[in-house]
């Protein structure tokens, strides 16, 4: 299989970089991954797989809005890997000197309109979000998804005032699930992850915004070998296939 091979390569590279003695020792310890909220389901699955292949490793995930993760890491939260929902936040963390190595794009994502199952309000596109009586909510423009949603609305030439600016994509989806709001703009993967509890209305490519997800090791990591191995796994064919099964677009 591909995965162990990647691990061996990583281990060899690390050994070649030669800090201490021991060659390809099995990976061990905790790996704390700080990942964007939209990665929750996919990364939990990736973590389970990675742990299965590396019995000595315990994966720990911290999912939140990307800017929150940046704040946490910059304030010294024990993170080994950072997976961002946009390049702006990745650049901020990198610019502030908290990353190690070169960030790599591991996935892309598109926006979709999320509505109640069966689309009771008959929403067919972005323009319908402005229909009277439709309760539209979105993410605050401070989180990547909210910024992208604004871009998409601008591309489509739609002006609509949301009822609420939620803190992350998950909050938007859960308010649609609970029936408090009628429509929101989230990532396609969030619609996929919610399964039958919501429906999705595609946004045409001309108006859509493609989000890129970069991943990078955190400089202060205490488990660089395992952190790099996890990143390599996410970028491997196996990891990519897993991500695509959750609705992500391939990295390139």
């Amino acid at each position: 299989m591909r995965n162990p091979l990647v691990l061996i390569v990583v281990a060899v590279v690390l050994a070649a970089c030669g800090s201490t003695s021991s060659s390809a020792t099995p990976l061990s310890g905790n790996v704390s991954v700080f990942a964007a909220a939209s990665l929750t389901a996919a990364f939990n699955a990736l973590g389970t797989d990675f742990q299965g292949a590396n019995s000595g490793v315990t994966m720990k995930f911290n999912f939140a809005g990307t800017p929150t993760l940046v704040t946490q890491i910059e304030q010294g939260a024990p993170a080994d890997v950072f997976a961002s929902a946009d390049s702006a936040n990745k650049n901020k963390l990198k610019g502030d000197g908290f990353t190690a190595g070169t960030p790599k794009v591991f996935a892309r994502n598109k926006l979709e309109i999320v509505v109640a199952p069966g689309n009771p309000n008959g929403i067919t596109g972005l323009a319908d979000l402005a229909k009277p009586g439709v309760i539209y909510i979105t993410e605050a423009p401070t989180v990547p998804a909210g910024k992208y949603a604004l871009q998409a609305l601008k591309l489509a030439g739609v002006t609509v005032t949301p009822k609420s600016l939620e803190a992350d994509v998950k909050s938007v989806v859960s308010k649609i699930e609970l029936g408090e709001a009628d429509a929101g703009i989230v990532y396609k993967t969030d619609v996929t992850a919610a399964g039958s509890k919501v429906s999705g209305v595609p946004i045409p490519d001309a108006d859509n915004v493609v989000a890129t997800y970069p991943i990078v090791a955190v400089k202060a990591t205490t488990n660089a070998a395992a952190a790099d191995a996890f990143i390599a796994y996410v970028l491997s064919a196996l990891g990519q296939a897993k991500l695509q099964s959750f609705g992500f677009l391939s990295a390139s």
Partner: protein
């Protein structure tokens, strides 16, 4: 009173305990960009959030007084089966994670909630994404503080004054207004202030139940949280404003009003 040295075994943990609260505040103060304080404070969004916070927290306190004082009176004066359970249920929000409280409110008063669905279909009333929703979330989380404080006040007051007034022919209502309320005044005031302070800082239940929109449901704590993601320094300043407002009130309160008798 003879002045005796305070034992070190008390002083040390007491000092650590105090430092645990003070150091984070110092951190905020040190890291805040005081030069930009005025800009951050006079930003329209800030003023809007501050105004909304004051209106909502004061409204929540008013609702808590109107509903909470009778409830406290019932707990203190009426013996009935299940009283302990009822009291526990009505003070549960003190220990419930506020976000869970927000979800519970949605399930009850949301557009599809137990009561909310009926209210929406019959009267067209919905609470989420409205300022009323903010007041509800804050009341839910903060009212228990008032209930407990007022109940303690009612239990510790000397009931002979009430009995005397009754014996002199005053109606029960008149006794409550002219005797009971003045006697529990300090507890009521303390309870209302604690309740207000809790409402002012409320975050989890509010963002979950009422959502977040400037001018309608975005209170100071919500603005602070979202600013943390885009403009950390401004969010520090706003936090300090909240702290300052609360600190002034809490220091202004005399100890006895909070029920810690200054013996």
């Amino acid at each position: 009173m003879r002045r005796e040295g305070v034992p070190i075994i008390v002083v040390l943990p007491a000092a650590i305990g105090a430092a645990f609260f003070i150091v984070p505040l110092v951190g905020l103060i040190v890291r805040s960009p005081w030069g930009d304080a005025l800009t951050a404070l006079s930003a329209p969004e800030t003023l809007e959030a501050l105004k909304l916070s004051l209106i909502a927290s004061l409204s929540a306190t008013a609702v808590a007084v109107v509903l909470g004082v009778p409830l406290a009176w019932v707990y203190a004066r009426v013996a009935f089966p299940g009283r302990a359970l009822l009291r526990a249920l009505t003070t549960l929000p003190m220990v419930l994670p506020p976000v869970v409280g927000g979800i519970a409110l949605l399930l009850a008063f949301g557009r599809r909630g137990l009561l909310g669905a009926w209210l929406a279909s019959t009267f067209g009333i919905t609470f989420p994404f409205t300022t009323v929703g903010v007041v509800m979330a804050e009341t839910f989380v903060a009212m228990p503080f008032l209930i407990l404080t007022v109940e303690a006040g009612l239990r510790s007051m000397d009931r002979r004054y009430e009995e005397a007034a009754r014996a002199l022919g005053a109606s029960r209502w008149r006794v409550f207004i002219r005797v009971t309320l003045p006697l529990i005044g300090p507890s009521l005031f303390a309870g209302a202030v604690l309740c207000w302070a809790r409402a002012l800082g409320e975050f989890g239940a509010t963002i979950t139940f009422a959502g977040n929109f400037p001018g309608v449901t975005q209170t100071m704590p919500l603005a602070v949280y979202l600013l943390l993601e885009s403009n950390q320094e401004a969010s520090f300043i706003l936090s300090l404003v909240l702290l300052l407002v609360s600190l002034v009130v809490l220091v202004g309160l005399k100890d006895r009003w909070l029920g810690f008798g200054s013996t």
